[in-house]
Symmetry: C2
Subunit: 173 residues, 2 copies
DNA sequence: GGCCTAAGCTTGACACGTCAACTATATGCG
DNA sequence: CGCATATAGTTGACGTGTCAAGCTTAGGCC
C-alpha cells in the first residue's frame, strides 16, 4: 500500500458519508430526474432554471446570473434556453444598458407549468430523501452540508463553471 | 398557492439540506469528474467500475452484480466495458455454469492504474468535501445519509435501474 | 480616439447516458 | 417435451453535456 503518512485515506465515518453521497447522487438523483422527464415532460435542468427565475424580482435575471443561480455553465444555459423559449416558458430580451447582456424572464405559461409540476417534484424528493430522515437527521444533514456548499460557492478558483447559492423549491411572485 | 394541508412543502431544515445536496451534486461532483478526466484520463464511471472489481474476490464479478455494485444500468455498463476492455484494464470471460452470464475481471494493468489514480482522487474528494467538515460533522453526515442509502438499495421497486450498496475507495487484493 | 484585454453569450463537434428493442439462455408449468 | 416467461447481456438511435473556438460589446489605458 502507499505511504500511510502522506496518503490521507478516508476514515470510517468519512468513507460511510462518501458512500452515502454516491448512493444519493447515483440512485436518488437519476430517479428524480426520470420522474420529471417521464411524468412531467420536463428536464431537471429546466425545472431548476424556472425555479431560479421564479425567485427573482420581476421573474427576471441576467443570463450570467441565472447560470450562477442554477449551477450551470453559460454554454449549457444557452442550449437549454433555446428549448424553454421555444416552449414559451421563458422570454429573452436585450439588457437595456449592457448590449452584451440579455435578460431571461419567466412567462405566465412558464410559471404555470412550474406551479403544476412543483408539488409532485417535492413529493418525489420527499419519498426518496426526507421520508427516511427524522427532523433531527434533516437538521444534521443541513448542518453538515452547509459548510461544503458555502465553500463551493465562495471559492470560484476551485471550479471551472459557475458559483453562487443553488435554489430548491419554487418561489411564486 | 396550493392546498397547504395536502402539499407537503419542505421545511427550513429540509430545504437547506436539499440546497446542500444540490450544491454537492451540481458543483462538487462535476468538479471531481473533471479532475479524473483531465488529470488522469479516466471517467468517474470507469473509476467506480475498477473500484468495484478491486473489492471482489478474485477481482471478478458477474456483469449484473458489477452493475449493481457500481450503480449502473446494464446498458451503460456494457458501453463502458467496451472501452475498459480495449484499454486492457478489464477482461471478460464466459460464466462457466450460466451461458447467459459473463464475468468481468480486473487485470494487473487495471489494478495498477487504479492504484495510481486513487490517492489523487481521494485528495480531490477531501479538498471539495471533507476538508470543510469536522470529524463530528462527517459523522453526522454519514449518519444522516445512511438511512437514505439503505432505502435506495433495499427498495428496488422504487428505481428503474439497479440497487445494492455503492463503493468508494479502492480495495486491493 | 485607438488599442488591448475582459466579459457576455453563442455555436458546433464530439462524447456520454438513456431508452426501447433485440438475441440468447434459463426456469417454471402444463 | 413444449410453451411461456423471466433473466443476462448487447445494440443503435437519439438527447444531453462539455469543451474549445468564435463573435460582439465594455472598460481601461496611452
Amino acid at each position: 500500500m502507499t505511504d500511510e503518512t502522506s496518503a490521507p485515506w478516508l476514515d470510517a465515518d468519512e468513507s460511510q458519508a462518501w458512500n452515502g453521497l454516491l448512493a444519493v447522487v447515483q440512485r436518488a438523483f437519476p430517479e428524480i430526474e426520470r420522474d420529471l422527464r417521464t411524468n412531467h415532460d420536463m428536464l431537471a435542468v429546466h425545472y431548476h432554471i424556472l425555479v431560479s427565475l421564479s425567485g427573482a424580482p420581476e421573474h427576471t435575471l441576467r443570463l450570467s446570473d441565472l447560470a450562477h443561480t442554477a449551477n450551470l455553465s453559460q454554454s449549457r444555459l444557452t442550449h437549454r434556453l433555446r428549448v424553454l423559449v421555444d416552449r414559451g416558458d421563458v422570454e429573452i430580451t436585450q439588457h437595456p444598458d449592457d448590449k452584451r447582456a440579455k435578460h431571461a424572464r419567466l412567462t405566465e405559461g412558464g410559471l404555470q407549468r412550474l406551479r403544476t409540476v412543483a408539488p409532485a417534484h417535492v413529493a418525489t424528493v420527499r419519498r426518496l430523501i426526507f421520508d427516511h430522515l427524522s427532523p433531527a437527521q434533516s437538521r444534521a444533514l443541513a448542518g453538515a452540508l452547509a459548510p461544503i456548499a458555502a465553500s463551493l460557492c465562495d471559492h470560484p478558483e476551485y471550479l471551472n463553471p459557475q458559483h453562487c447559492p443553488p435554489v430548491a423549491a419554487p418561489t411564486d411572485g
